[in-house]
Symmetry: C2
Subunit: 270 residues, 2 copies
DNA sequence: TTGCTCAACTTGTTGGTACAAGCTGATGCA
DNA sequence: TGCATCAGCTTGTACCAACAAGTTGAGCAA
């Protein structure tokens, strides 16, 4: 039942692409052209099967490729939808200082300023340092750290997770870090009051596909990478914290302003 | 021929996961445990088919999920291999100045310092500004820009593409920008000699799955996102360039040092 | 009108088969 | 010995069939 689709006379150029890829390429082209705008639904598998003279499985392979590219998503019973991308800008270089109302970064402020509604769940726990965290905090692997963990939402859509690790010595010096509740005035301000002023930080940005855990927390399907942001904060020569933030890659972009640059106004798309 | 694998007595907990997902989860666990270390080969589809008492198609679905996660890769005739991740660090905040030997960023220097061999192909062309570039360069959509394009390799492995766009007015002021050859002393130094000194820049970092073009240029298969780095350079109030760099997300990590921080030495893993 | 059921759509899962095509090592010929 | 060939492994592509399960709207019942 195998049939190689050679269509030489039909296509002009020698066409050695497998059928499922032809399907994917054709649909991708139509999506790019705007024939299927963001948010619209694609024809059903059986319709595409008829159109491309291919079996349902072959069409599914093609669609699956587009899902992996992050171009479309599917839901059982509903069909395939062209994905929308509304990117949220994160200004990471704005130096953290005491004027920020809460928790070290400008999440709530930025989201509210964008006219969206922020919400989050929060927990505190003591946890042994993983290799990654131990390296950055300059503590022994497995030694105790205080973890303050946020799961953040924008308009009730899962947006990011943020895990901040503090070394044990700092938690002794600033005991409220290890207490379960929120720190009303913000951790940065609280630490400053305790004599710990963050003087600089080191940011690392990486990307990869989400682990199953991350897929669950951020509610991302196949084809959406995560953006990993690790910020290690220093006061003098001491590491005072390590913050690992996981973003949905399709909804976020990080910005850094360095040196002298004019006032920015207009917004732009990816 | 459909059979739901309910295995209640066997598994204890109610097991409602589809079979292909059970396969993926089991293999992921074994890879994480080190049973299949990076670079090693997985059992063949038919062996897995026997082990999991599933059809080859079902096993392929499970393996496909792991490929999409970026955990393994497959090659026809060879089998499935657990992916290795050697991450290359890119220090993006080191302020660009005249001491850099070439082309605006520290690519060759960094790669050579890491004991790897850099190589690149290069081309120059005049091209109309896309919406993305026009926005950043503050020029009209479709107006002429000079594009200087690099395709970069590390030890002959495709690593990144870098497209730098210069506005037309700048190319008139610094005509060698539009000439096809390399600028020996580096574009930054050349522009400084022409009276254009970059005073600051604005960086944007995003991630997504590669387009087919990017997959080809960077030689990435399914499951590897790209890291997009856009740097817009300013001199006084004028935008002098916009550089869009595309990295393989599995091989690169970007770093920013901001504020005062101690000397860093030890290296670390993701 | 309101609310429920159900048919008819959608995609998801699992099985089967067949052949194409890439890789490797054994075999055999020169 | 050296080289070409080929058998036997691997994954890749393509088809078929059947049933599970989520969604929606039509239509009937209260």
């Amino acid at each position: 039942m195998y049939q190689q689709v050679e269509r030489v006379g039909h296509d002009g150029a020698m066409n050695k692409q497998p059928k499922y890829r032809q399907v994917a390429d054709a649909l991708r082209r139509e999506i790019d052209n705007g024939a299927y705008p963001p948010g619209s639904r694609l024809p059903s598998e059986s319709e595409l099967s008829t159109r491309f003279e291919a079996s349902r499985n072959t069409v599914r392979s093609g669609l699956n490729a587009l899902v992996s590219e992050g171009l479309i998503s599917s839901s059982q019973g509903l069909g395939y939808e062209v994905r929308k991308h509304e990117v949220f800008e994160l200004n990471a270089s704005r130096f953290e200082n005491l004027t920020f109302p809460q928790n070290g970064d400008a999440y709530s402020t930025d989201v509210t300023n964008a006219g969206r509604r922020p919400s989050q769940t929060f927990r505190v726990e003591m946890t042994p340092a993983t290799a990654y965290v131990a390296d950055r905090l300059k503590v022994a692997l497995g030694s105790t750290t205080v973890l303050r963990f946020c799961h953040r939402f924008v308009d009730d859509v899962p947006w990011s997770t943020q895990a901040t690790y503090y070394p044990d010595w700092l938690a002794k010096q600033a005991p409220r870090l290890a207490e379960p509740g929120d720190i009303a005035e913000g951790t940065t301000r609280y630490l400053a009051a305790a004599g710990i002023e963050q003087a600089g930080y080191f940011d690392e940005i990486a990307t990869r596909m989400p682990t199953p855990d991350e897929s669950r927390l951020l509610d991302v399907g196949a084809g959406v990478p995560v953006l990993l942001w690790t910020r290690t904060g220093y006061a003098d020569d001491r590491v005072i914290r390590c913050t690992i933030t996981t973003f949905r890659g399709d909804l976020n972009r990080m910005n850094y302003e360095i040196g002298t640059l004019p006032d920015r106004n207009g917004d732009e798309r990816p």
